[in-house]
Amino acid sequence: MDYILVGKNAVYETIVAALVFLQKEENLIEELDKNPVFGDLDRDNKREPIFMGFDNRGNRIYILGTQNYKLIEKIVGELSRVAGQPDIPLQVITMEIKGDALTYYLAYLADLPLIGAWFANLAKRWVISRKTEIMTSCRNTINSMPQLEDFSPAAKPLK
């Protein structure tokens, strides 16, 4: 079973959620700094699933950012149903994270000439400033989905 985390912005909040899934949350800031996908709007604008890595069971973890993120689970179910698959081999995890609308607009403004880079940077800082909140939201999502119990992270102090 592979997993895809979907949210409004793949390369901002959703990537943080993916790092929680990949159990890289302890050094989150360092992980974000060294991950080229974080804040990469060109990648986000391609609107394709982005491969993030394998979890400790060998499952692939993907992220996707799209305006209609709440509909992705249904769309995946339909693609699978009409193709006649007996089971859906992809688990969609919808990430609803408070504050992601502001990130979305900052990312939108990042396309502006000259001052766009400033907004792109601001979006990154906005995400980093909410890392605890995003991680909590991710854990709540994991806990609310019984099929994700393998991912339930042990309670660890946040750095």
Binding site: R47, P49, I75, E78, A83
Partner: protein
Amino acid sequence: MILIKFVYFDYGGSHSSVLAANIHLGNLNSAKTPSDAELINLPLFDKTVPEDFGTMQYVGQDENNHEVYVFGTRHSDFTATINGLAALLGVSTEYTFVGTMPYVNYLLRLGGFLSRGLSAPSLGRPFVFRGAKMAYPALANLVDRVKVETI
């Protein structure tokens, strides 16, 4: 022969995708712009409800037994995403996805918003009919191209 599922998709799954699917199936003559009555008599044309978003709606089987569907994705540029998701599911070879959003003109947008978005078909349908007729030749060309390239 390998059977393919043709999926025509747009934002609402109600207008341009329905036209393209029906042109594909021969329910509409690609060489002749349809009348208002022909349009409104199409089973899915300007009739979808919000619950239909994300549901693949079967329209029929073409002359080569390929199935044809319409899909409302609630997104104006969903081609890369839908192809990516199909690849992750391992079903890419089953489908041909055809986005019809580039053929949606401002009249279709306005009419669709009034008719489907605000549930005021009496206000929206005159714009929808006009917009659909304007978009029709380009949609017919699209379907011809898709059939030639795919089949």
